[in-house]
Symmetry: C2
Subunit: 222 residues, 2 copies
């Protein structure tokens, strides 16, 4: 069941750093250092270095030779493009879903909706966030577009640093939930036009978040 019987030091460090960057626990612009991180994690520089390489490729850190490694500033252009890509791909996929969608995957969506209602009742924001992600992922899986979702997730690393604020403004969840419900109905009815419109509106919400974050933390941005 466990693909990695012994999780490597590298993957541990990588996962932890990535999480901290996405959390804004390590804010944009923070100076990292191989040595410092290796001490913090209790490993040698090698696995830390290789984590930096991976994070650098994803654009989450910037490695300047002989100068230092820094958590990347949020690039508004990159964020907007990430939103654009996600919008195009999610709309295309949900149109596919309206043409044909497996029954058991539809069951999963319905279960997910029920869990969303429960989480909203409990005001469990963290759980709600996970369910939101799972909801979208499930649509991709129903259309055999697992890898496409994976690419979106990578792009979303940048988008998500901006979206963090919404987590605290939980009054938005009701709106998002009703959109999720509309999507499921549209897929069930095969109404691609409706699904497309709802998804487009659904994904346009994140634009405003960035403006708010930018105003509050101007030095986080490029």
């Amino acid at each position: 069941m466990d693909s990695n019987r012994a999780p490597s030091a590298r993957s541990e460090v990588y996962a932890k750093l990535r999480e901290q960057i996405l959390n804004l626990e390590l804010p944009p612009g923070t100076a990292l250092s191989e040595k410092e991180s290796s001490l913090a994690f209790g490993v040698s520089r090698t696995p830390v270095r290789e984590s930096f390489v991976r994070l650098g490729q994803e654009g989450l850190v910037q490695v300047l030779p002989q100068r230092g490694t820094f958590v990347s500033l949020i690039d508004p252009e990159l964020v907007e493009e990430a939103r654009f890509m996600r919008e195009q791909l999610e709309r295309a996929v949900i149109r596919l879903a309206c043409a044909s969608f497996p029954a058991d995957t539809m069951k999963q969506l319905e279960t997910n909706l029920r869990l969303q209602r429960e989480s909203m009742a409990e005001s469990n924001d963290k759980r709600m966030f996970e369910l939101d992600e799972a909801f979208h992922r499930t649509i991709f899986e129903g259309c055999s577009k697992r890898n496409t979702w994976a690419v979106i997730q990578q792009m979303n690393a940048h988008l998500n640093r901006s979206r963090l604020l919404r987590l605290v403004s939980d009054h938005e969840w009701n709106h998002l939930y009703s959109q999720h419900e509309q999507m499921v109905s549209a897929i069930r009815d095969g109404d691609a036009g409706l699904a497309d419109r709802v998804m487009q509106e659904h994904l346009s919400l994140s634009i405003r978040d960035q403006a708010v974050l930018r105003e509050r933390f101007p030095h986080y941005f490029k």
Copy 2:
């Protein structure tokens, strides 16, 4: 002008390995090894290792701990999804281009078309391939979607291993060129519907290549 005054050993090794994998010079399934590669490139194992990490993240190689590193087999599902993503994003972008496109970037497209005619006359396939890539990239740049193009390029790594065969069947170029011409006209006229249709057809051509390659080299595929 040179972003890297002294190209690092790592980036050299990475670029070379990547090129060889995309060339099929290193066919899918080939066993690599840190030691062997380090000897071949005349560097230590460290930069080779870090190249493996990068290539692994792109899905071009598969690193199995304590077992070995292998050039990834071509995953048909991944290839189809790459094609799907590219289609959706290119169609969305060319529709944007029809709404608004900078005059100087339009000049570049026209220049590119002229060079394409010259290269076809010379039967210069390599040049033609480069111009084709530049053509599409220019459309993205005109719409301020540089990063989106970069993501497509990464996905295309998988797609391109399948597209290699087309390079030798140069009789296709005439068809591709006329489609390019139609796209430029459509952008000039702001005819998003036409542009979308042409682009869709344009990008559907690569599907057949995979079938051919798969038939000839079944052991290259997953």
